[in-house]
Assembly symmetry: C2
Homo-oligomer: 142 residues x 2
Amino acid sequence: MTAIVDVALDRLRKQDAAVPESGAALTIAEMAERTGVSVHTLRYYERIGLLTVARGAAGHRVYGADDFARVVFLNRLRMTGMPIRELRRYVALVGEGEQTVPERLAMLIAHREAVRAQLAELQFALATVEFKIAAYGGDCAP
Amino acid sequence: MTAIVDVALDRLRKQDAAVPESGAALTIAEMAERTGVSVHTLRYYERIGLLTVARGAAGHRVYGADDFARVVFLNRLRMTGMPIRELRRYVALVGEGEQTVPERLAMLIAHREAVRAQLAELQFALATVEFKIAAYGGDCAP
DNA sequence: GCTTGCGTTCGAGTGCGCTCGAAGGCCTAG
DNA sequence: CTAGGCCTTCGAGCGCACTCGAACGCAAGC
């Protein structure tokens, strides 16, 4: 449990520290390293249409700063529980051009509400855990 | 997304309103109704050892107030992302008696930290979503 | 020239947490 | 007496999001 969260936090730290200068070209391994998203998952995301990545010399993927930004954004949405299905829809809308901005906005606003509700729920359940801890007499929080 | 959360919130409202008086006996259907946990899932939880339910006349499950409390508690832990595996461990400890209280406490405290981290992460990602909404110019929050 | 190491594709496998279907038992109402 | 409805068990199936294995390609270094 803690390990999972630590992985997520590590990822955030990495992403902050690893924004590539625009114009930079990254290999898949470098992207994995900088975004904290595995090589396997990067390829998977591409397969299902979340990413469209340019190819270089030997057919190898070449990621740009924009790809980095997208992966990080997708990752944030995933962190908040947006299902892959919706990510695909969002990306499809981006692909359709500026006229889909209102719909994208609507998606994000709906999602924001969902995340807020999720936060409320989590805080509520946390209270139950804290109550139980208190009931066991262990209120030795750091 | 929103639907999922609404389901969860409905469940919480239900659980609050549906605490049985102690001594009450509930059928599986009533438990499902009151806890918001499906009949299928209640049986599943029993199968994997999270619950031990008494049987009545025709071999039917008979749930008491304590079972209700446990289901609600398990449900809260699930809401915070505790995996089934750990629920089983916790329940096993409960079954072993009072001397396992320290270990249970340790589990809960570790879990509390995980939930707090999860909250922080969620808030962080929410900020990203809000930033994006602002970038799209849609700051028409309710 | 041959190993090392990175990359490629494709399809299949994994783990989780349910969710469901089939086949049948018991009880009550019409 | 029979139909409906709720219950039982068991094993299988599902949706999600990865995750991995197999088989192969290219390019640099010893």
